[in-house]
């Protein structure tokens, strides 16, 4: 069942993937992010961070309040290179 529950839709990370990461000892969201790749796709965790945090808390028996979110990275939302580059310069 847990293999069919997708927590991170950008990177296809399942509940089973997260449970496996916790079983291997990756207990913080930063570590689980690195081991599973969750939160590294186009949504950058906006859709999945809470779901994965719940799964990590459940699998590790940790109080969810002790789980810090991973560092959020700029840009705030996906931004085209052309926009960042600005107008073409001669």
């Amino acid at each position: 069942m847990s293999r069919k529950v997708i927590l991170c839709r950008c990177e296809d990370v399942t509940l089973a993937d997260v449970q496996r990461a916790v079983k291997l000892g990756y207990a913080d969201l930063e570590e689980v992010k690195r081991y599973t790749g969750f939160g590294t796709g186009p949504c950058q965790g906006k859709e999945c961070l809470r779901e994965v945090a719940c799964a990590v808390a459940q699998a590790s028996g940790r109080d969810p309040a002790t789980l810090a979110p991973f560092t959020s990275r700029p840009p705030l939302s996906p931004t085209a290179l052309g926009v960042l580059a600005g107008p073409a310069r001669k």
Binding site: T40, P74, P78, T79, L84
Partner: protein, 393 residues
């Protein structure tokens, strides 16, 4: 995976400070040679530092014979890593394409290509048109020449750490993450290493703390001349595979590759910021995003529509002459350093660690121990004979 190692180990033969790829690989190689009582300490979790923040490029195109040959050997280790360590490292050998905007840079590339060919590396000089045949999206106008080696490639850095860590643990190495070193004191021939989680005694200390190495060296009265330089990377939304080689522009230090996940990953050099206190800075800057966006859309205009999803920073650990610093630290017998790799430490770690472990086990030192010796910066020291030119990304 490592915080569960709580068994007390008051006396270690070797304490490695820094659980990045260099520290873990040295610990693994020592353990594989039968060394016992090895402890690796790290202030954070695996992949927090530069080993978790680099672009994953692995290349053999260098300007000195020693570096070419070292990286040929490192590439071999990388190519067999997945099989030997039982972990996928997402290696893709799409080659490395270096682009030159000026005749001077193209001349340097040609000289380096000749050296690489003498080392049996199949690098070749190619025209901008031939470069475009390799990378159809490439805008050729800014470039006068290029070189390409098809056997270079990229890896996903993180599994190297997990692979080395797991293999080291299997051989008895204790890895303690979240365990910052707060003091190092001499007790006779031993070192007493204080951490938040207790004190350890060690016969030998290996400082593999990358850009944090000068701080660790200071704890035991040593000095190191390397300095942290912030380097930033961005990653885009995933795209269908279209970019075969890692592409790098010599003059600007721009580099970009497409990972097996489909993302473009790349960075560019910004002017070095003043940093008198040698502080490791990991904040992200808008100036990087705009500089990188201009650089990328100049060489591949079609990328203008591609979206950036993430940027981050990591510290290059840069020595005064650009070459690494290895061996026993002058004035602190038993304290060994391996730092100053200037952004190339990840790709060099597999081979450097192999030879470092051999040296620590009493075998004849690899020639890099002479070329990169720590006392070359001391008064009256001999500077590194051949300064490496290919120090991009």
């Amino acid at each position: 995976m490592t915080s569960s190692d709580r068994s007390p180990s008051p006396r270690a033969d070797v304490v490695v400070i820094g659980a990045g790829v260099m520290g873990l690989a040295i610990a693994y190689n020592l353990a594989a040679r039968g060394c016992k009582r090895i402890v690796v300490l790290d202030q954070h979790y695996l992949a927090w530092g530069a080993s978790g923040r680099n672009g994953g490029g692995v290349r053999q195109q260098w300007s000195t014979e020693m570096n070419v040959r070292l990286m040929q050997e490192s590439m071999e280790i990388c190519a067999h890593f997945a099989e030997e360590m039982g972990i996928n490292v997402w290696m893709r050998r799409g080659g490395y394409l270096f682009l030159a905007r000026t005749d001077a840079a193209a001349t340097r590339l040609a000289r380096n290509v000749a050296l690489q060919n003498r080392c049996d590396l199949p690098t070749r000089m190619i025209s901008p048109a031939e470069a475009q045949a390799l990378v159809p999206e490439l805008e050729t106008a800014p470039f006068v020449g290029a070189c390409y080696n098809a056997t270079d490639g990229i890896v996903f850095p993180w599994p190297f750490l997990w692979g080395y860590a797991r293999a080291a643990q299997k051989r008895g190495v204790i890895i303690r993450t979240g365990t910052a070193v707060t003091a190092i004191d001499r007790r006779g021939d031993d070192f007493q290493i204080a951490t938040a989680a207790g004190t350890l005694t060690a016969g030998r200390v290996i400082c593999a703390a990358g850009a944090w190495s000068p701080r660790i060296a200071r704890l035991c009265g040593g000095t190191l001349p390397d300095r942290p330089v912030r380097h930033e990377i961005l990653s885009t939304e995933p795209l269908k595979p279209f970019l075969k080689p890692m592409v790098s522009v010599i003059e600007t230090g721009l580099y970009v590759s497409q990972s097996l996940r489909g993302e473009l990953v790349g960075g560019v050099s910004l002017p070095e910021e003043p940093n008198p206190d040698g502080e490791v800075r990991l904040g992200s800057r808008l100036a990087f995003l705009t500089t990188m966006a201009r650089g990328l859309t100049e060489i591949m205009p079609r990328l203008a529509q591609v979206k950036v999803v993430r940027q981050w920073a990591g510290p290059y650990d840069v020595s005064p002459d650009g070459d690494p610093i290895v061996g026993e630290l002058p004035g602190v017998p038993g304290f060994y350093v391996v730092c100053g790799f200037g952004g190339h430490g990840f790709m060099m770690a597999p081979v450097v660690a192999r030879h470092y472990a051999a040296y620590l086990c009493g075998e004849a030192p690899h020639p890099f121990f002479e070329a990169w010796r720590a006392d070359r910066f001391a008064a009256g020291g001999t500077p590194s004979p051949h300064r490496e030119e290919m120090t991009i990304g």
